[in-house]
């Protein structure tokens, strides 16, 4: 069985695709991301439709604290870069580097999550609850879904790091790292749109789009 042979022998160039299982995993995960695109797209479409329905509650313009958001964006973007480095280290079969970069990724992700929790906490104090308005419901659901993805990603990658301490880098663990990296990038791509559609467009406010 390849998994066994591979452990102590040379890993192939792209260890994540060395086995059929690995290939399947990567392809399956890409397709899953296609589905996630629709998932987030539907959330976005709904948010866009409801973003002006503040029902007498606070509006995006009155509320958003762009400083926090800018920092959050920076953290997540950087974490995406560090996870690229992890994947590159994976291709060089350097487990220590993979783990190191992923630890940084997780820390940055935690920073992002912390900012988001602080931000939500802050908004709730400004009287924007889930039940306040259609705007608030769609805002918390869209951004919260993203935050939930980040949280899941943090747990997942942490689990992988711990696991790899025991199992090392093999054709079995490599696809897991690779796929987690894809997931993390995807979360970052989604954030690009959240930043634009929720926050920047929120700052413009009003009926800027038809």
């Amino acid at each position: 069985m390849a998994a066994d042979h591979a452990v102590n022998t040379v890993l192939p160039d792209e260890p994540e695709k060395a086995t059929l299982e690995g290939k399947n995993k990567v392809l399956g995960f890409w397709l899953f991301l296609g589905g996630e695109t629709v998932l987030f797209g539907t959330l976005f479409a709904t948010f866009i439709a409801l973003r002006d329905q503040v029902n007498g509650g606070p509006s995006a313009q009155e509320l958003f604290d762009m400083k926090i958001v800018a920092w959050a964006t920076f953290l997540l973007l950087t974490s995406s870069l560090t996870s690229v480095f992890a994947t590159m280290a994976l291709h060089k079969h350097n487990l220590k580097a993979v783990q190191g970069w992923l630890v940084i990724t997780v820390l940055l992700g935690l920073g992002f999550l912390g900012l988001e929790i602080y931000e939500f906490y802050h908004y709730v104090h400004e009287e924007l609850g889930m039940t306040t308005s259609a705007f608030s419901s769609s805002f918390y659901t869209l951004v919260g879904f993203h935050g939930g993805h980040v949280a899941f990603g943090i747990c997942w990658i942490t689990g992988l790091i711990i696991q790899s301490m025991k199992k090392g880098l093999t054709v079995v663990t490599a696809p897991k790292f690779y796929v987690a990296g894809l997931y993390w990038h995807f979360i970052d791509v989604v954030w690009v749109f959240i930043f634009t559609v929720v926050y920047l467009m929120g700052m413009i406010g009003g009926k800027a789009v038809a």
């Binding site: 069985m1 392809l27 589905g35 996630e36 539907t42 409801l50 659901t141 199992k167």
Partner: protein
């Protein structure tokens, strides 16, 4: 590291079924679940027809009637025909492409258990204060506000969410299987049409189900957390639900029908002993139908008030689907043309499909004309339309597929005499039930009415319609008897009872757990037929006989689904219990199982060549 067993773990009985990751067994599990829910949905349909047998009947109360139609629609679509489709896909697609297994056996099992337990959750609502009663479309605000609907709707939301998750991962599994696991020489343009349609159906699942997921989340948040997506008083918009539901819902009906198209293509071609006429245009039409399926959803919303531009755009886009579907109809006819047609039961259902589905498709095109739909919409004309395409199309197709592949799945042929009785009772009952409904609709009978008043000329049509259902029930019972008869029968079906054309018939019936002792080399469209014509006995192997790696069975898929099942109740009753602890515990349990799955690698086991010989299987 290398602590993997090299023997098949000895599991038997119930434990075997609860832990299996073998796609053929999962296929059977899907059939069992689908069959069970088909009977349930069918009994609900019979109660519906009983209540409507004459005006102002009082067999069931108004509220109960609404529960019946909601559960009938939901059960039939999500829990009966989807599982049967998945069952056939599981049993056949890997065999048709010459694969030893699906891409993700574990995920495959997980998909089944999620679907089954989601369905079970939904149906327990009958005993826990009432089933959902808002229609299978669950339009807000009726569905989104506790003022207008009961706890039953929470069961709908959570049950479908869990089942939908199962379907989604099942779809991804099939996509990857078909892309990555094809045998050497099995190019895309040599894939049998059932595999092709399974492929496109899985792609539709991938892109349609997430929309449903989101819609159900909105509904759940509105109901459970007091969110305002569909609350007009706080700025919400009810039309959003309609859009989301149909963005999912329309592709869903093509998710259902495409596999049936695939089955018909296989059956018609086998039993006329001809290759499929216009294979490449069939493939093209399948893809085109899938593609167009995503931009026509608003034809369910012509009366919502979207305005004439949206209505006509969506209407015309809808009509366009008639073109690729017509290509299919005519290709089937031309496949039969010049053949030696054998009227086995499978072929009777396939051939019966053609006129019946055509009628349903034609009424579909009539519905796609927005101004006319202002009259048809939400009348029995629509009910007639969709039962013609679903029962007369899909269910006929599934019966055809079951008769056709039964020997491959179980090693026994279904009885042909009983099969013919099944066909004729079901066929006649079907037309009796649904043909008059077209006219009931035109005469102004709205759908989803628990009764109607006398003197509106609706008596005759409803009576005939209610009588017809007896035919379908009879047919279904004959089919059940047939299964028992087949199971009791001593006669083995053999590898290739129909003199068929595709790969699955090259191996024993039922297929051994490793499917192909040696991966076959595919040398043309209709792989087996190609070899037959070349005078070969079977497929040429593409590899030497060697040890075969198999995935280990696992109880985790069941446990993971169980976690979500429990979490479902946690959410439904969170309001009454005043706590989310159960919901959180259930989800945590599922996550824990996921962690276990990741930590303990499945090394599987091996079947050695001598074992293969021992089992008497000659490659």
């Amino acid at each position: 590291m290398s602590d993997h067993t090299s023997h098949a773990p000895n599991r038997s009985g119930l434990w075997d079924w609860l832990t299996t990751v073998d796609h053929k067994k999962i296929g059977i599990l899907y059939l069992i679940a689908g069959g069970f829910f088909f009977i349930l949905g069918g009994v609900e349909a019979m109660l519906i027809r009983l209540q409507l047998i004459y005006p102002e009947a009082k067999f069931v109360a108004a509220g109960t009637f609404n529960e019946l139609i909601t559960m009938h629609g939901t059960t039939m679509i999500f829990l009966a025909v989807m599982p049967v489709i998945f069952g056939l896909m599981n049993a056949i697609v890997p065999l048709q492409i010459g694969a030893r297994d699906v891409a993700f056996p574990f995920v495959n099992a997980l998909g089944f258990w999620l679907a089954a337990l989601g369905g079970l959750l939904l149906n327990t609502s009958w005993f826990l204060g009432g089933a959902p009663d808002v229609g299978w479309t669950a339009y807000a605000t009726l569905s989104s506000n506790h003022k207008f609907s009961t706890l039953g709707t929470d069961f709908y939301v959570l049950g479908l969410q869990i089942a939908g998750l199962g379907t989604l991962i099942g779809g991804i599994n099939f996509l990857v299987t078909i892309i990555n696991m094809r045998a050497p020489g099995m190019t895309f343009m040599r894939m049998p049409l059932f595999t092709w349609s399974s492929f496109v159906t899985s792609a539709l699942i991938l892109f349609a189900f997430p929309a449903l997921t989101v819609g159900l989340v909105f509904l759940m948040f509105d109901r459970i957390f007091g969110a305002n997506f569909f609350n007009p008083d706080a700025g919400g918009n009810i039309v959003i639900w309609e859009h989301i539901f149909w963005i999912f819902g329309h592709p869903e009906v093509y998710i259902l029908i495409l596999p049936a198209f695939g089955i018909i293509s296989e059956v018609v071609s086998t039993f006329s002993k001809k290759r499929l006429f216009g294979y490449s245009s069939m493939v093209f039409a399948t893809i085109l139908i899938g593609f167009l399926g995503f931009m026509v959803w608003a034809h369910h919303m012509f009366t919502t008030g979207l305005g004439p531009i949206a209505n006509t755009l969506f209407g015309i886009a809808t009509m366009l689907i008639a073109v690729p579907t017509g290509i299919k109809i005519f290709n089937w006819l031309l496949t039969l043309w010049g053949g030696h047609i054998r009227f086995t039961t499978a072929n009777l259902f396939a051939v019966g499909f053609i006129p019946t589905f055509t009628i349903g498709g034609m009424t579909g095109v009539m519905l796609a004309v927005p101004p006319a739909d202002y009259q048809y919409h939400d009348s029995y004309f629509v009910v007639a339309h969709f039962h013609y395409v679903i029962v007369g199309g899909l269910v006929f197709g599934l019966f055809a597929g079951l008769y056709y592949w039964w020997p491959k799945m179980f090693g026994k042929l279904l009885n042909e005499t009983l099969g013919k009785w099944h066909f004729w009772t079901f066929f006649i009952g079907f037309h009796l039930t649904f043909f008059p409904q077209h006219f009931l609709g035109l005469m102004g009978m709205p759908r989803r009415v628990f009764t109607y008043l006398p003197g509106q000329n609706l008596e005759m049509g409803n009576l005939i319609s209610s009588i017809g259902v007896i035919g379908m029930a009879l047919g279904s019972i004959i089919f059940a008897i047939n299964m028992v008869v087949a199971a009791k029968s001593k006669k083995a079906a053999g590898n290739d009872p129909w003199d068929a054309r595709t790969l699955e018939w090259a191996i024993p019936s039922p297929a051994p757990e490793y499917n192909f002792a040696q991966t076959p080399l595919v040398r043309g469209l209709d792989a087996l037929w190609t070899e037959k014509m070349a005078g070969n006995k079977g497929m040429t192997p593409a590899e030497p006989l060697g040890s075969i790696h198999m995935p280990s069975p696992s109880f985790l898929p069941f446990l993971m689904s169980l976690g979500l099942f429990v979490a479902g109740y946690g959410f439904i009753y969170a309001g009454q219990w005043g706590t989310y602890i159960v919901a959180i515990a259930g989800i945590a349990f599922t996550l824990l199982c996921m962690l276990l799955r990741s930590l303990y690698d499945d090394h599987g086991y091996h079947i050695e060549p001598d074992e293969i010989e021992e089992k008497g299987v000659k490659a």
